[in-house]
């Protein structure tokens, strides 16, 4: 893997993050919101793995990038599990997974 510069790679992560922001702002279904958040988390994981493969400073343990990526994948999987539990609870209470209809906390 050679010739790939830092801005080229970070442009992909930026595009995925923008996609995630777009999804969170436009979609109303809870499952689609979860998917949009997952896209954003994957952009972050991608950066960790890139900077583990291309460490900028010598001396610092570059393996920590891959280790944090492993842990982040675990966190993301946990987040989806809890998110789907919330979807089920919401569906039982409201009969829908549309987040626009969950307004109980509104003043």
């Amino acid at each position: 893997m050679s010739g790939l510069t830092i801005p080229e790679f970070l442009a992909l992560a930026s595009a995925l993050l923008a996609l995630s922001i777009f999804g969170v702002l436009t979609r109303r279904n809870f499952i689609l919101l979860l998917i949009a958040i997952e896209i954003g988390m994957n952009a972050a994981i991608l950066n960790f793995i890139y900077f583990a493969a291309f460490p900028l400073c010598a001396g610092h343990s570059a393996l920590s990038g891959q280790a944090i990526a492993v842990v982040t994948i675990g966190f993301a999987a946990t987040e989806v599990a809890v998110g789907l539990a919330i979807v089920l609870a919401l569906n039982r209470l409201k009969g829908t997974t549309n987040v626009a209809e969950s307004t109980e906390l509104k003043l």
Binding site: S2, A15, T26, I31, I35, I49, L63, V82, N91
Partner: protein
């Protein structure tokens, strides 16, 4: 342009297109199919960056478990699985906000130096040694969060909760 760079550009294009398709298609089951392809594509990028363990983890956890979990979520919350989403419309403001965010990020990353740092590869055993050595607290934290999430998820979905 090296073959690896070409492969990366192709995979990046596929990642963006599949991610966008996942958010734009009206049928939720098709969304899951697109997001499955997106996760597999990202795992290919991880393999390209010589992170085979993370590539396999991405395939197992994201393309396998998360995709199936989302599919189950759709299955138990809808009467007809292939029913379409109500059209919410794509507002101009959210689209503009995400485009502005992308442009700002792009300006920020292009101002970075365009040099290619030295490519480093690791042995998978070195990663596991690191994870259960110096990175031990991270693994411990993850296990505690997973335990709390497990308890929380069971509490949320149990029957008879008012």
């Amino acid at each position: 342009m090296s073959p690896e760079e070409l492969a990366f550009l192709a995979l990046a294009a596929i990642a963006f297109i599949t991610g966008l398709s996942a958010l734009l298609v009206r049928e939720l089951v098709h969304t899951i199919l697109w997001i499955g392809i997106f996760f597999v594509d990202l795992s290919a990028i991880y393999f390209l960056l010589s992170a085979p363990f993370l590539g396999v983890l991405q395939l197992g956890v994201y393309a396998g478990a998360v995709t199936i979990l989302l599919l189950f979520g759709i299955m138990v919350t809808r009467k007809r699985i292939f029913s379409r989403e109500a059209a919410t419309g794509i507002g101009a403001v959210p689209t503009l906000l995400s485009v502005v965010a992308f442009v700002f990020l792009l300006i920020a990353v292009t101002s970075l130096s365009s040099t290619t740092p030295t490519f480093t590869t690791y042995d998978v055993s070195a990663l596991s040694t690191y994870l259960f050595g110096a990175g031990g607290p991270w693994v411990l934290l993850l296990s505690l969060v997973m335990l709390a999430a497990l308890a929380g998820a069971i509490y949320l979905v149990r029957e008879g909760r008012e």
